[in-house]
Amino acid sequence: MNKNILLCGVGGQGIVLTSKLTASCAMKKGMQIMSAETIGMAQKGGSVFSFLRIGKNIYCPMFGKKQADIIIAFEPAEAVRMLPYLREGGTIIVNTRPIMPVTAALKASSYNGTEMLDYLKKYTDNIITVDGDKVCRELGSPKVLNMIMLSEAIKSGILPFTIDDAVEAMKHNVKQQFIELNEKALRHNF
């Protein structure tokens, strides 16, 4: 039961940690994992991705186009950018809040994400949209978007582990004072 997972978004959204948690959940289940992600200069405000592969007979950490079982997109335009990686029948989970690039401010462009969401809805069969901002507000912190996205991905049933596995992994990977808030975010729709 191999799974190809792709996380994408903008630097600073907590994608790398989400990738780590997903990997450590799979590790715990004794599965083989490989992953690769954007590192370094591109991280701050740039497009960030993380490829994750779980299962048997995988040779390299990144996979080709049309091979992702699930794309977890933290930003609408980044979802569109990585859409060519989604396999036929794959699922895409997308946070609806757009993030302006600096270039948009300079060019005074009016990128607002709607066009991207329309595109995604038109060309994908299994799309789950998440109003991450709203859930963050309900939970009282803008910093739990990554937990909310992971929570949605687990709820979709595509990831081979449970929300309890994710909570357990989170406890080993975040500072003590943030555990309670993160657990609340992970369990918010369970």
Partner: protein
């Protein structure tokens, strides 16, 4: 043995520690940095860990330790080896006593480098054995074997992973601490006929090196990581030769198809010639899938000539594989489909996307470099000037709207490029911008050269008290070491005065008016003079309260956006707004606003 989920660079570090590492030194550079950082993190105090001032110093230190029988590792990125090439070339003749591995990470793409140079050439040039791992697990195992070979043959060896191995993660088998080798160095044994390089020694060493490498070629033909994978379709007379991460892309391409004969090369130098002959036997055509340069392709072509084989070798040299950039699963699958004459895949039917926002890397919100560049730009407005940049975060000062980097070449080059431009264009105000880490790494000698040879230029040192670009490593100006000591800082201003600069002033660039005045005043002086713009990296300090724009005062002129390009200032519903989640409260924009609409707490 147990399983761990590790980054390639962490695996390399862990492997080296398991092999009895005593000393590790290096200079940070993507994608190599995490090897040394991981070692510092897991160090129980028995390993000497150092971020050296540059790669040359690091390699010399590693050599000295290996002379004593220590196992040493030196880490750098590919362009770092250019800096370390002087000691490297000579050390190849002298050799070592303890195992010494020079870990040089190559960067196909390039993703974060100036060049796509291939360290496998450096191996052949310096005549040093080279190891090229293809996965995280293999990197872990191979680094330990590299130490064994190095010690057995008394020679430093190169270990050359590429970005996707360095920064890939995998769950791998690692040794328990009880299985680690413990290496106790014997100490330095004096022998001037061995450790002092002279022409006579070099002549003899050269003979020995050639003899050894010829033997190593045979030994590497038996090395288990160089291998021939027999074809699943025995009627196929085609073959594929590959290496590194590209080898795994080749494996992926054949997961659900019959594979031809495959050759995997893990020691590009000395090339395992016997194994190559065995591979080529019976093949009509071989496709070489490589990243960076066609090293294997040339070797196989040579082997075909030497042994009168009629096998056709194709790859980059024949235009079948692209000559630049990194390979991907998809690009390799395409190369293989064409070679195997598979039916063409129907092209991706993904419809045209809406215009996607471009997200180039930019200086962070609150970055003091933005203020420094803006101050110089304002001070020199309308005057003929040239701004020579250097390597670091501040290379990003080239982006619009700052547009303040006219040249950038390699570490420390900006100082003497500025000198050269000034010699040809004496009527131009010439500026060299250099960061603090780059200053220590390789700009000091350039300043000596410029001062002594009567250059006219302004040296701007952008001192954010860290090596920011590669993830905040300490350097001689920071006052801490990788062994956790707090030490005396090397003072940049004192260094410059010691060299002989009469004018050196240190200014906080975030005090904009003062910064502009200082540039105006000092740049008008003759000779080499310097301004040190000192303000800590915004990522390392606690942010101040975010600033806010008073919408009643804002006239929507967008001067803040168009002159600074700070990611913290955005347009939302046609109004200029500050993104509180990004703003660090540096206050630069408030000093640029013509109507004082931007303020700190007083606006609340």
């Amino acid at each position: 043995m147990h399983k761990e989920f590790l980054m390639g660079n962490a695996a390399i570090s862990r492997g080296a520690v398991a092999a009895g590492l005593n000393v590790i030194s290096g200079y940070p550079g993507t994608p190599s940095t995490e090897v040394l950082e991981t070692t510092a993190k897991i160090n129980n105090g028995s390993i000497y860990v150092e971020w050296s001032v540059n790669e040359k110093a690091a390699l010399e230190l590693g050599a000295g330790a290996a002379y004593c029988g220590a196992r040493s590792m030196v880490t750098m990125k590919q362009v770092g080896l250019n800096v370390a090439s002087d000691p490297l070339m000579s050390l190849a003749y002298i050799g070592v006593k303890g195992g010494m591995v020079i870990m040089v990470a190559d960067d196909p793409g390039p993703i974060s480098s100036q060049t796509e140079q291939d360290t496998r050439h450096f191996a052949a040039f310096s005549k040093l054995p080279c190891f090229d791992p293809s996965s995280v697990q293999e990197a872990y195992d191979m680094i330990q074997e590299a130490f064994e070979y190095s010690e057995e043959y008394h020679t430093p060896v190169l270990f050359r992973p590429t970005t996707r191995v360095c920064h890939g993660y995998a769950s791998i088998d690692v040794k328990d601490e009880s299985e680690y080798i413990k290496n106790i160095p014997e100490g330095f044994v004096k022998d001037s006929s061995k450790w002092v390089i002279f022409p006579r020694l070099s002549y003899n060493a050269h003979l020995n090196i050639e003899k050894r490498n010829s033997e190593l070629s045979d030994i590497f033909s038996e090395y288990k990581r160089n291998m021939i994978i027999p074809p699943s379709d025995t009627s196929c007379h085609k073959g594929i030769a590959s290496h590194g991460i590209s080898f795994t892309y080749v494996q992926e391409a054949f997961t659900d198809k019959d594979a031809p004969k495959i050759l995997k090369i893990s020691t590009p130098f000395p090339f395992p010639e016997k194994l190559a002959v065995e591979f080529l036997n019976g093949l009509d055509e071989v496709l070489c899938i490589e990243e960076l340069d066609p090293v294997i392709e040339r070797e196989l072509t040579y082997v075909c000539g030497k042994y009168h084989l009629s096998t056709k070798i194709i790859g980059k040299l024949t235009g079948n594989v692209k000559n630049a950039g990194e390979n991907t699963c998809d690009s390799v699958a395409d190369n293989i489909a064409e070679f195997m004459e598979w039916d063409k895949k129907i092209n991706s039917d993904i419809p045209t996307t809406p215009e996607l926002p471009v997200r180039p890397p930019v200086l962070c919100a609150g970055c003091p470099h933005r203020a420094s560049f803006y101050a110089v730009k304002q001070a020199m407005k309308g005057k003929k000037s040239v701004f020579c940049g250097d390597i670091g975060c501040y290379t990003l000062g080239n982006a619009m709207p700052l547009d303040m980097v006219d040249t950038c070449l390699c570490m420390g080059a900006g100082v003497n490029i500025t000198q050269g431009i000034g010699k040809i264009e004496p009527d131009t105000s010439c500026f060299a911008f250099v960061g603090d880490s780059t200053f220590f790494a390789s700009a000091i000698t350039g300043v000596v050269n410029a001062v002594y040879n009567q250059a006219d230029m302004t040296l701007i040192v952008l001192d954010n008290s860290t090596t920011a670009m590669t993830g905040h490593q300490p350097h001689p100006g920071t006052g801490r070491t990788m062994m956790g000591q707090i030490v005396d800082k090397v003072n940049i201003e004192a260094v410059l005065r010691g060299i002989g600069l009469k004018t050196v002033e240190t200014v906080n660039p975030l005090e904009l008016d003062k910064a502009i005045d200082t540039v105006k005043r000092i740049s008008a002086e003759k000779g080499v003079k310097s301004i040190i713009f000192k303000s800590p990296c915004a990522v390392l300090i606690k942010s101040q309260k975010p600033f806010v724009i008073d919408s009643n005062k804002c006239i929507n002129c967008k001067k803040c956006i168009n002159s600074l390009g700070c990611p913290g200032i955005i347009i939302s519903d046609s109004n200029v707004r500050i993104d509180e989640s990004l703003c660090t409260g540096c206050g630069l924009c408030s000093q640029v606003c013509p109507v004082n609409a931007i303020g700190g707490e007083q606006n609340e």
